[in-house]
Symmetry: D2
Subunit: 342 residues, 4 copies
């Protein structure tokens, strides 16, 4: 059996989450999120975010959450600014455009970030009413490349956005990994207050599925439930999401799991370097990117499942290893032992 | 604690389904439905449907499945013909229109059905190219009112559709209830061959969530996965759906559960009649509709959770009780004992 | 050559309009409506409407104007309430649904109107957040059946809408005919103040093309130009629309033409009655509806072009004659002479 | 009065077009393009294109035509490949995305073209079903930068597209300028056969408005009229478009006008060079691009209306002069005399 480092949704839920879901399975609850667990989970998330007035709504997956949230926050003629490497842009089969909105890409930093200095020319150009109006900036934290926004970076971006009439939306599919990274200096409440909306990703950190969308500004939330329903995103047995997030935010489980993923990634990253491997980027979170000679790829494939990220040059390829709450030291050490030195 | 007859998604999954999901939870599987359980579940569904060439794809909930499937099957300028009482029309916050398609309603029979004789005037009118082109007929089985299509009825409708260039799509949110009803004379393969596409509803019959969309004509299926992804309907941990449907279609579990719901509904329906209650319709499936004087409503509410279906007249209301796999004889008898005679 | 009573867009523009357009044809003007004629025409329309703060924008045709305006005024999850006979519902190939919005139909009065008493049950039902939220009421004046709203009727509807958080939108494709009808008791400014948005139809009253959309409440207008452009509705040589509307609203030409159409329709209607014809409705504007035995239809077709409106019963058909600014007494008398007595 | 070189839609229609439209103005014709002029114009266009089986449909403006045509030709999950400088991408307020489709941009050549070698990596990447499927390639001829595709270039691109399952669509807003350019070696029939769909732009070459969309492959055209209507693009008085295009393609008027624009542009371009001006690109059609020091801009503005195209560097700006059928030698020589030497 091969080591499975393909992604952080290769395993199901943390056992505590499964237990909690099983415990209420036949209890009987009202549908569509109109149950006590969902209500309590929303309260708990408002609490951990330090946003007592925020709207919290549960959705099912990342693409759905990005699309429902961003199209909800924009007027039809407004566009989302997105790093060219952003998931919203590249990996969702045009799901966002399917809601009728344009994406305006900016070339991301090597870390996959947007910085405020990228935006003025784009805003200047789009003052022309024959062009879309930029309405929000989409970022992810951690980014597609595993990097995290520092407090200084996010503050600068947030201030720029708010001075320029832009909303700031953060894709938090891997928010746990970001906020527990050694490179992070933001608390969850600080993060929540710097953005206008974000989601706390469950799928990639210990849930069977489920993302908690937080819109921190109540004046932006009117009509959200109907928008969610209109996009087929309301679960009938919504209490599963409620119970899941209640469990994730009890006893720090969400962050404990994320830390485990990060630590295992760091161990793997260090181990690869010790074996003479070249990293594509130095990642402080649970994704590890390595540049390997093409001819080494078959050997890697024998040993483990991981993903080809992108071509590097004619003779090299970037591959990605992802860890998660379920990755153990033994997994990492076993993988390292099995991989060739370079 | 009140009796819970609110709907068939008030309880979670059948214990066998939960056990199966838990059993593979930390096994490690590829995401997005690219796993062995999903593959086997698709094969099993093709087998039980007698459609070896059908496309089977798993989605998450009913609204999503209706919307993804019907918008996939239509050209942009084509409309869905739908009974005015159909879920697609009335209960999905315009989710189908959100994909850019018009719904053409026809007044349903009291049972919630469409019959072929309703359609020629509508088709005649819509030959005018300044009007939408009817592209498919949407029905549900069982219907919103709990009725089931007979073989004769469905054959007539299917033949009419195919003679007139219309696809026939069946919303099978409660397909289990329909096919195990005493009023049913269709096998699943017969049903599958009479329609062009349908879904086997998991959410309302023993799954945590999940619907199995079946498109019986392979020539209609090109590009479906991208359409599904584009609409945010691809689960990352897709094997949960695979394991769920594998379990549902092992040992006849899906139909056993549906039979249980139907039997409990029949018991309840008979019991209500014995207590002098008036039925709104005589239902052969797991939904029971009663007409009650408005002043009786508070007493009913004390005893159980059920739904107000619609006003009947100024002094009466239609209420709905729904049973499911988890409803026991004791629940029904207890409810009957607690409800007032009328 | 047959008499042409097919519709009010069978003839081009009033000669004064053509002359004015020709006069500026090679003058040179900035595109996209950024020219002096457009600016002056907007001012003139604000003046005749008594709405100094209104937004006026020119569009090209009726369907486009309805769709751009109504989708602009609604949130994605909001629906338009429309009489079942309304143009938005029946005759636009789902153009409005193509923008992602549902239409909620109410059965119109025989005159094609909506009255406030029709709306409470629909509003009550749609408080359920699993259903679309009604956001505006769409009416037409004159209606599809040629009727006009009285001041009392429109006031009542307007008050109802505004008490219930609904916008009121009027399709004014035939607004000239309505406001110059003997049945009308509304001035244009009174009309303008009772609705939130409407358009003054040029195409059906003496323009080559062009509709003037008026949104009377400035707080609703932000972003409109981009919305219009996004829907392909901005003309490059926009001054043609400006010059057209300047001419239409100079010297009362717009209303003079409409009066001519109405008078010719009245003459025709009276003449038909004198010949023993049965009217479908008694129309006070420029559309005349007659019920004829089916076997008379070929004779009518020999004599003139007119439209089949709808079947009446098995042996009778409703046909429609439409007059316009270009219809003369000689046309009407000639047609009457040529048609058979009934 | 300033010289007007702002664009090729600053003047109305050629006098012959206006005369023809005026001549039939009050003749009486059926609406929606169901008239003899439209029928004859379609035949004439099929004839000049050498495509006897092509579908020809008239639309109103360029953005509308691009959007209706491209969204008609694609499945919902398919994307258009577009040069980053393409009009569809940059200048239409997301009108194409509003139909639910993604645009995949490729960096255009300095001339604004797409070459086949740009496409394989994009196609390779998009074999992944989690990404949109590229469905067509959008080009413009002449391009946004005034360049024209040679026969060799277009043949290579066409062959690449057809080998790779892509449709090739050409935006012909300035097709007249392209095909009458000295740099052109394509006949209209050759051009028509190399692409799958294109439009012959009227608005920018002597029409009041109107574009003739040609889909050369009849098997792709089913349902087009409804799509056009659904997008608000059907003119009620459609015969105006018919008469316009009949006139444009009588006696070579369309190409005569385009030649005049090109010749005047060449004269201007040569004149600017003689005055020491730097061209941004050497343009063979009716758009002339010059790089000027920023401080010269106010002087240019005194003399003429032209457009700022883009910044060049910190101290220079690219401006664009556009000529058309109505530009005379006197206009060009007058402008040249009035502009400063550089």
């Amino acid at each position: 059996m091969k080591y499975l480092f393909r992604n952080d949704y290769s395993f199901g839920a943390h056992p505590k989450v499964m237990d909690a879901v099983c415990a209420v399975n036949l209890e009987g609850n009202w549908g569509y999120g109109d149950d006590q667990y969902t209500a309590r989970a929303k309260d708990r998330i408002r609490e951990v975010c330090g946003c007592p007035d925020a709207m919290v709504e549960f959705l099912i997956g990342g693409t759905q959450t990005n699309v429902v949230a961003c199209s909800f926050l924009l007027k039809p003629w407004e566009a989302a600014i997105c790093p060219d490497s952003g998931h919203l842009n590249g990996h969702e089969v045009g799901a966002f455009e399917a809601t009728g909105h344009k994406i305006l890409t900016v070339p991301a930093t090597p870390e996959g970030k947007i910085t405020p200095d990228m935006l003025p020319p784009l805003l200047e150009l789009h003052q022309d009413p024959h062009l879309t109006k930029p309405g929000l900036v989409y970022i992810s934290n951690s980014t597609e490349n595993g990097a995290v926004y520092t407090k200084a970076e996010l503050t600068a971006l947030s201030e720029f956005c708010h001075k320029n009439g832009l909303l700031l939306f953060a894709d938090g599919a891997r928010l746990g990994a970001a906020l527990t990274s050694d490179a992070n200096d933001l608390t969850l409440p600080e993060f929540a207050h710097l953005v206008d909306a974000f989601y706390i990703g469950g799928t990639k950190n210990g849930a069977m599925f489920g993302e908690a969308l937080v819109i921190t500004r109540p004046e932006l939330t009117d009509g959200f439930f109907r928008m969610k329903k209109r996009m087929g995103a309301v679960m009938e047995k919504g209490w599963i999401q409620g119970v899941t997030f209640l469990t994730l935010f009890e006893d720090d489980l969400y962050f404990k799991m994320a830390r485990q993923g990060n630590e295992m990634a760091a161990r793997l990253q260090n181990g690869l370097k010790a074996k003479g491997w070249t990293l594509w980027v130095e990642s402080p979170t649970n994704q590890v990117f390595a540049v390997i000679p093409n001819q080494v790829k078959p050997k890697v494939d024998e040993v483990c499942d991981c993903e080809v990220w992108c071509p590097y040059d004619e003779s090299h390829t970037v591959i990605r290893f992802v860890t998660c709450f379920h990755t153990t030291q033994a997994d990492v050490d076993g993988l390292l032992a099995a991989l060739p030195n370079l």
